[in-house]
């Protein structure tokens, strides 16, 4: 049954994917497709938009409306699409570099305005596609091709960033917990405002080889299991114990009107007799 669901949304002629053995991107893709199904509406009103990176290849495989766009700008492209097609479900998939380095400005402004789209970050802590340079989520002291002696800069916590900037739905999961991932993506898509889903995913070929000294898929998944802690458990742990760990769960799920809805409301209000405009003319 689950395979059938996934197949319904795939461009099967594009298989196999370009992703490396052990890459977590396929697991996120599976969850995304099941969330599409759970959403319970036609796939023809979904627009899936990516920037560029390994994550950016996702729309190529999915049989909905798709746009593969420039590095870091997927959210800006999505803003244009959503404004003109407010009834569409607009979903953006990005790499951590895409989202928080080159596209960081679009990301925080989408959160501030509560733009009515869902942003899914494939967070592998590294620039996968270009071969393993540091990203803003590379853990402190982790190795990368541009940090051959360890990253000395502090990483971003995407959840904290999204919460601080005002997103109305913020969650994190890892690819190790697939049922949870299905659920948080589905909830994110259902939320009206800006939904941010940070997915911790392994990049065995670059991140894994540099940091876990192995490209073995299972060992890299185990590393993720050790570094992700559910919110409830984390509440009982000390700051020291939580250093270098990602806390998972839903951190905000709040009803708050999204930008596009506010805009449409304003348009409607102003077009009614006795609206602000008319008053202006009388004065």
């Amino acid at each position: 049954m689950k395979t059938e669901v996934v197949k319904k949304y795939l461009r099967l002629e594009k298989m196999p994917t370009v992703w490396c053995p052990g890459c977590g991107n396929g697991i996120i893709l599976g969850s995304l497709l099941r969330a599409f199904e759970l959403r319970g509406r036609s796939k023809d009103d979904i627009v899936l938009i990516s920037g560029i990176g390994c994550s950016g290849r996702t729309p190529g495989y999915v049989d909905v409306h798709t746009l593969h766009t420039t590095h870091g700008r997927a959210i800006a492209f999505a803003t244009g699409v959503k404004m003109m097609m407010p009834k569409m479900s607009v979903i953006v998939v990005m790499g951590d570099g895409d989202c928080t380095a080159i596209g960081g400005n679009h990301f925080i402004h989408a959160a501030r305005r509560n733009l009515d789209i869902t942003a899914i970050v494939y967070n592998n802590g590294i620039y996968g596609m270009t071969g393993g340079q540091v990203s803003p989520t590379t853990p402190y002291e982790a190795y990368a091709t541009t940090a051959p002696y360890g990253q000395m800069e502090a990483p971003f916590d995407i959840v904290e960033l999204a919460l601080g900037a005002g997103a109305s739905y913020v969650a994190r999961s890892s690819v190790n917990d697939v049922p949870k991932l299905d659920e948080i993506i589905m909830k994110g898509i259902r939320n009206d405002g800006f939904s941010v889903i940070d997915v911790i995913t392994p990049c065995p070929i670059v991140f894994g080889r540099y940091n876990n000294l192995t490209a073995d898929p299972m060992k890299n998944l185990e590393w993720i299991r050790e570094t992700t802690i559910p919110k409830s458990k984390a509440a009982k742990m000390s700051e020291e114990e939580l250093r270098g760990k990602w806390i998972t769960g839903i951190f905000r799920d709040r009803e708050k009107p999204g930008l596009i809805n506010l805009y449409l409301d304003l348009e409607e209000r102003l077009s009614k007799p006795g609206s602000g405009e008319d008053k202006g003319e009388e004065a």
């Binding site: 560029i52 593969h68 420039t70 590095h71 870091g72 380095a101 080159i102 960081g104 620039y127 596609m129 270009t130 071969g131 340079q133 540091v134 803003p136 091709t145 541009t146 940090a147 051959p148 002696y149 800069e153």
Partner: protein, 384 residues
């Protein structure tokens, strides 16, 4: 010392041996090896330089300008989308007169996404004021970085050293690494007249009205014009010291040539082998390789074109709505001459499609059968 290296590493070693002090960079295929090696050499102390891991190419160029304003020698590298993202601050680097040297790996612009070679990315920046040099092999890449600093710092204008994606960036060649001591003699430390200096404060980049801006632009043009003889001078001096001489252009078998193939970068290397093959068939053909594109070596080109019957420019780039870009510029250079030869413009190898020796021979033989150029573009190899 000879070392086998890829074209990208020739850029890195060029920056190292020129004693670049700051390298702000953002990764992009096919440039990544350039900055990965530099980040390693900055970290392990092989270079006395600082590597800045910025969040985009716009920041890479902006940090480069800031570092250059302190009086440091700055290097960065990028390609295609990255170069396009820098556009705003490419103008700034010129206006601020910061002699940064940047490597650009020629890659075709998206969409559709592609990573293969084409020159439209750098040529689209031709009006920013950056000097541009198109290299044909890894040795020239390395040597040109050193020369670029010498010219750039003399005229206070930034320079780009440009190489073809994969064809050059990722192929290995034996490259002679010049001796550090000799390079230091050739390229002394950068000493700008103006810099951020607590002992001698200045304001940079302030607002200017129509009463001042015009003259500043005039000075930029003058500086770039002054660089024309400098490129030849510096190339000659380099030759005396290191045994490899360079100039604004390179000619091959042009002395008795009736017809000329004009091209740049690795396409020109391929054209050279085509010239040999055509000569064997009895054709009086020569090659003109344009090495420095900005400043444009119009006088040199005019002088060579004055003695030929016809010429064909092979461009791996396009200015949409017009034609190949080297073709435009070559034609413009000879337009006011008394009897300029007919010039044919060929567009080939777009988006990295291979251009072989046979293709160049075909191009040459095709244009020899034509009476005159009938349009500004002859397409080679497009599948319709």
């Amino acid at each position: 010392m000879r070392k086998v290296m890829i074209g990208n590493h020739a850029l890195s070693y060029g920056a190292k041996i020129s004693r670049a002090q700051v390298i702000p960079a953002y990764p992009i295929t096919p440039q990544t090896e350039v900055v990965e090696l530099l980040s390693e050499m900055c970290a392990n102390g092989e270079m006395d330089a600082k590597f800045i891991k910025v969040e985009s190419e716009h920041s890479a160029m902006t940090a480069s300008i800031g570092a250059s304003a302190t009086g440091a020698r700055v290097f960065t590298a990028t390609s295609a989308q990255g170069l396009a993202l820098m556009h705003e601050v490419l103008h700034w680097a010129v206006g601020a007169r910061t002699p940064i040297v940047m490597g650009n790996i020629n890659r075709a612009m998206a969409p559709p996404w592609t990573i293969w070679t084409e020159q439209t990315d750098s040529l689209a920046q031709r009006d920013t004021g950056w000097m541009q040099l198109y290299a044909q092999n890894s040795q020239e890449v390395l040597d040109s970085v050193i020369q670029a600093y010498k010219v750039a710092e003399a005229v206070q204008i930034p320079a780009m050293v440009i190489l073809a994606a994969f064809v050059l960036s990722h192929t290995s060649e034996a490259v002679e690494l010049p001796e550090q001591g000799k390079v230091d003699e050739f390229l002394p430390p950068y000493e700008p007249e103006y810099r951020i200096d607590p002992a001698n404060p200045h304001a940079f980049g302030g607002l200017t009205g129509p009463d001042g801006y015009f003259e500043l632009r005039y000075q930029i043009q003058k500086a770039i014009e002054d660089s024309l003889p400098k490129w030849d001078e510096v190339g000659r001096e380099f030759g005396e010291l290191f045994g490899r001489k360079y100039g604004l252009i390179e000619t091959y078998k042009v002395e008795d040539a009736k017809n000329l193939i004009i091209s740049s970068a690795t396409l020109a290397s391929t054209a050279r082998t085509a010239v040999d093959a055509l000569r064997e068939k009895g054709e009086k053909v020569g090659l003109l390789r344009i090495r420095v594109f900005r400043p444009f070596p119009s006088a040199q080109i005019r002088s060579i074109l004055s003695s030929v019957d016809r010429a064909v420019v092979v461009d791996r780039n396009i200015s949409f709505g017009a034609s190949g870009i080297f073709y435009q510029e070559v034609k413009a250079a000879v337009y006011n001459e008394k009897n300029p030869p007919p010039i044919f413009g060929v567009i080939a190898g777009i988006g990295g499609r291979d251009v072989t020796k046979k293709d160049i021979i075909d191009i040459y033989e095709d244009i020899m059968r034509m009476d005159e150029p009938k349009s500004d573009i002859i397409w080679k190899g497009v599948r319709l």
